[in-house]
Amino acid sequence: MRLLLGLAKAIDALSERVGRIIAWLALLVALLSAGNALMRYGFSYSSNAYLEAQWYMFSLIFLLGGAYALKKNAHVRIDLVYGRLSQRTQAWIDLLGTLLFLIPMALGVLYLAWPWAMTSLAVRETSPDAGGLPRWPIKLALLLGFALLALQGLSELIKRIAFLVGVYALAEEKGRGVE
């Protein structure tokens, strides 16, 4: 169990670090997009590379942020029943949900997206638009995002089990963002 908790801690640290990167992306993408808009209105200049960089960064925020939000327990739940349950029962629900929902979903998407991303990589796919960016890196990022999500799921699983057998205290934080 100690070893497993060590693993969970390492995964948490990884997600935390990724979270710090995507936080910066959130600011950078806004500045980039404002720059693009100014160039378009001021100088009637627009470049597909910069426009595509916008949604590449946006995609990275949520693809990589999915695991971070899971670590922070920020994903939206329907609290109707869950909110009234004891911490133990909640841990059971999270345990089963991770096993039955999160990990199958992440692995399912990985299974389906693997050939899709690999084809893109093999032919070094690029944007169909002139001056656009290579397409394959962002498709690989989708794989990376769901892999991180599955990994964070594993960490949550370990922490819930450790809590249920009484060797770990779950933080009661609810990292819900802003409405």
Binding site: G19, R20, I22, A23, W24, A26, L27, V29, A30, L31, L32, S33, A34, A37, R40, L51, Q54, W55, F58, S59, I61, F62, G65, G66, Y68, A69, L70, K72, A74, H75, V76, R77, I78, D79, L80, V81, Y82, G83, L85, I93, D94, L96, G97, L100, F101, L102, P104, M105, G108, V109, L112, A113, W116, I138, K139, L142, G175, G177, V178, E179
Partner: protein, 496 residues
């Protein structure tokens, strides 16, 4: 029993069950899609090619420029929230209108509308008003129930006044343009603000003990208020006047903008002696300029069709940064928190969208859309019956779940019915959007109620907060009815 026909109701039931378990919505949705997808292939209900479309669907979300507006408007809102904008506005407007009976409440509605058009974050508005205005209102004898209600109602304006993130999500789900959605939303937004004003005036006239005027000793600038208020009003008239003049002279858009600015500048020169003499007027002008510039920069450009919502949102972030820096509220810590919250919100919102996309891909694969369509077209009363059903459903769902879940899970299913009955999507989205405001105010899961409880002084009972919201829920429902009957004018307004 035909297995194929059984799949849609089974999938739907499974989803409800999974959602109710309390496990994060995004994964409950996605897993239902994936599991039933593989089940469907194993049972030979649809070809494996269906699931192979899944990566492309996720890719479609990634490359959707429109959704970029979500982090932009969120980041802009959080930075503005920390920039002291709300505090300045509430303080000066309270002083300005305070001498009137019901004046503090009027200033809350007014500031609520301005905050909605800039920060657009319900939680931020509730907390700012709960911390600044509520104690003042209580101190000078406002009825706690009425005071709480005004704050709750005004804060939820953020949902219906552009650049609301909900409107973006709904436009995306319904396949209408965000610009049109924003333009259309101006009508219910105006109606709601107008009805709130009327209600406050009604209370001031017929329940004066609920909303007393500020006593003389609470007015450091006593006697200066009327001049300041009329001066502000005169700006509105000068602004609209020079805009109309520009239209009359058929100036090109940029020249018209310049002409309006010139008009306002000349008027300021004219008023300068008064501004120098009247500190209240000076503060009021200083607190109004930044939000109005931002509203013009962000909303004006979208509504005029000059900029896309994404571009406007990005410019709004820059504007918010500049404003926060000017107010000396921009520190590394504030900035980092805003970025981090934005990234987290973007991640969990888009993940719900991914989950709901996975679900609906498979749900359509098992002909769930036909099943839903059959249910909706089978409702008695045709179009009116359908609308009534949907409105009741959304209202009731609003008691238990919040707008993200309704917009991402229920709306796509409801849209199938709207499409089958040939109902205009824009108008339908507006009805749902107005209705969704109530979800913030209806217990047990009204987020605005929670936020206000967290910041309200202890002498305000929880019951006061819950009951205080009721008149405003009723006013919102009245707007809903008005929007229902104003369908033609609204669509004409958007078309123009």
């Amino acid at each position: 029993m035909d297995l194929h026909a059984l799949m849609p109701p089974l999938m739907f039931l499974a989803l409800i069950l999974f959602l109710l378990s309390g496990y994060p919505v995004a994964f409950a949705l996605g897993a239902t899609g994936i599991v039933f997808g593989f089940l469907g292939i194993a049972l030979d209900i649809f070809p494996p090619a269906l699931l192979r479309a899944m990566p492309d669907r996720i890719f479609g979300i990634m490359s959707n420029q429109l959704l970029l507006a979500i982090p932009f408007f969120t980041l802009m809102g959080i930075i503005l929230e920390r920039s002291g904008l709300a505090e300045d506005l509430l303080d000066t407007m309270g002083k300005l209108f305070g001498p009137l009976r019901g004046g503090l409440a009027l200033s809350v509605v007014f500031v609520g509308a301005i905050l909605a058009a800039t920060t657009g974050v319900v939680a931020a508005s509730v907390m700012a008003m709960g911390i600044i205005s509520l104690p003042i209102m209580l101190k000078y004898g406002y009825n706690p129930r009425f005071a709480s209600g005004v704050i709750l109602g005004s804060a939820t304006l953020a949902q219906i006044i552009p650049p609301s993130v909900v409107l973006i999500v709904m436009a995306d789900q319904l396949g209408v343009s965000v610009g049109d959605m924003y333009r259309a939303a101006l009508i219910p937004a105006g109606l709601t603000v107008g009805l709130y004003f009327l209600y406050v005036i009604y209370v001031a006239l017929f329940r004066p003990q609920w909303a007393p005027a500020l006593p003389l000793e609470a007015r450091p600038d006593a006697g200066k208020e009327p001049e300041a208020a009329f001066a502000l009003l005169s700006y509105l008239l000068v602004g609209v006047g020079s805009w109309k003049l520009g239209e009359f002279l058929q100036l090109p858009a940029w020249l018209e903008g310049l002409e309006v600015l010139l008009g306002l500048f000349l008027w300021t020169l004219f008023l300068l002696p008064r501004i120098q003499r009247n500190p209240l007027l000076r503060r009021a002008l200083l607190s109004m300029v930044p939000p109005l510039v931002l509203i013009f920069l962000v909303l004006g450009t979208v509504l005029l069709g000059v900029a896309t919502p994404t571009e406007a949102g990005a410019m709004g972030v820059v504007g918010a940064l500049v404003l926060a820096a000017l107010n000396r509220r921009l520190s590394f810590r504030v900035l980092y928190q805003a970025m981090e919250q934005t990234a987290t919100l973007t991640a969990f919102v888009i993940f719900i969208l991914i989950g709901s996309t996975l679900f609906s891909l498979v749900f359509r694969g098992v002909d769930g859309d036909l099943w839903v369509e059959g249910f909706f077209t089978g409702l008695p009363g045709g179009e009116a019956g359908f609308i009534l059903f949907v409105m009741l459903l959304v209202f009731l769902l609003g008691f238990f779940i919040d707008f993200f879940e309704i917009a991402f899970i229920a709306l796509p299913l409801l849209a199938i019915g709207a499409e089958a009955l040939g109902i205009d999507k824009l108008w339908f989205g507006l009805l749902v959007g107005v209705n969704l405001q109530t979800s913030f105010l209806t217990p047990p899961f009204g987020f605005a109620l929670f936020y206000l409880r967290n910041v309200a002084p202890k002498e305000v009972k929880t019951g006061d907060i819950y009951l205080g919201g009721i008149p405003f829920i009723l006013l919102q429902l009245l707007v809903l009815v008005l929007v229902y009957f104003l369908r033609e004018p609204i669509l004409r307004f958007v078309g123009s």
